[in-house]
Assembly symmetry: C2
Homo-oligomer: 205 residues x 2
């Protein structure tokens, strides 16, 4: 019997991944769906579409709408919000550290803390100082974790995870994928994706 | 006292405008918000971003997700769905006829009938035959309406409406704009936009 689960694909620089990462644990618990946090890098996927930065930086009207919409969305959810400067920030270090943490049990807390630092507190997540401070707050061995995050195994893992996202047709974040291969894109689809995952788990049972 | 209202901007070729146009009348009635149907052309706005077709045709992974997501969305709403071929179809004729009809009281029924023909029945909305058949079904003088739709006054009106959309920072469809200038993009934001319009109308009262 397959327990219902949902793969949660996100990039630490992705704006709508902020409300998604903050909401997913409580909603998944309510639906009794297990969630796999899958950090990846959108940059290489954007590059293959000919974009060298966030599409929001390429399409100003769309960007203005997105920032205002994200502000409204966060206000409705009671989430603090500050627009990150600069945008986007490199998410490579955060993603590597998250992969270490997801193997050690503190990964999800780390992910929420990084998004909070970036979108609620306006801190630079591309700086080792910020990531180090977050790790200290989680009471893990900061030096050992940062060393592991820069090791070959984790670098390769993040590369493989990003290649997997692309192979799964993922083109944006957050994205959600169920056991039966259904793909959902965007914070707006979190509830629908969880409901689908639950049904997929039940019919596989 | 300003009664609450919402401007509803859409393009007849726009995929997510289909569920929006089918849902808006009943939801607006429930919220006691008046809706202004504002057909416009996305083509000229896309062209200024360097796109010569729908962005969905330029970004295949995004398109695959959109078609599947639209199919799921329509299934959930109980709306019939067929993928239009070709996509996108020119929406110029439909938009011009809609402008005639919105001035004569049968415009909203016409808009729903066009979206139904395109997305539920797989008919070509860029063909005069389809538009003529829809007009006949609405018991209006088809020849007179088609003549008016190709007249200078209506052509200019559609051009002006498209220029207004662009001036309002509209970059996609459906879009919703409230009396206090708040802009919402996408079928997913219809409920939020109506709630905002209601509050805006109350605070202006």
């Amino acid at each position: 019997m397959a327990p219902p689960y949902l793969d949660f694909w996100f990039d630490f620089a992705s704006t709508y991944s902020y409300p998604a990462v903050m909401r997913i644990a409580a909603l998944a618990l309510r639906e009794a769906v297990a969630v796999n946090f899958r950090p990846f890098l959108l940059g290489p996927i954007f590059k293959m579409q000919g974009w060298n930065t966030s599409p929001f930086n390429l399409f100003p009207a769309k960007a203005r709408n997105m920032w205002r919409d994200l502000e409204r969305t966060c206000a409705e959810l009671g989430l603090a919000f500050q627009r990150p400067e600069p945008f986007p920030q490199s998410s490579v270090l955060a993603a590597r550290v998250a992969l270490v943490g997801l193997g050690e049990g503190w990964g999800e807390d780390f992910c929420r803390a990084v998004f909070n630092a970036e979108f609620a507190q306006g801190r630079r997540i591309d700086e080792t100082e910020t990531i180090g401070a977050i790790l200290s707050g989680l009471s893990v061995d900061t030096a050992a974790v940062l060393a592991a995050a820069q090791g070959t195994a984790i670098k390769d893992k993040l590369r493989a995870q990003t290649a997997e996202a692309q192979a799964l047709d993922i083109f944006g974040a957050p994205s959600f994928r169920t056991a039966d291969g259904e793909l959902f894109w965007g914070n707006d689809r979190l509830e629908t994706a969880l409901a689908w995952a639950k049904r997929a788990g039940q019919s596989a049972a």
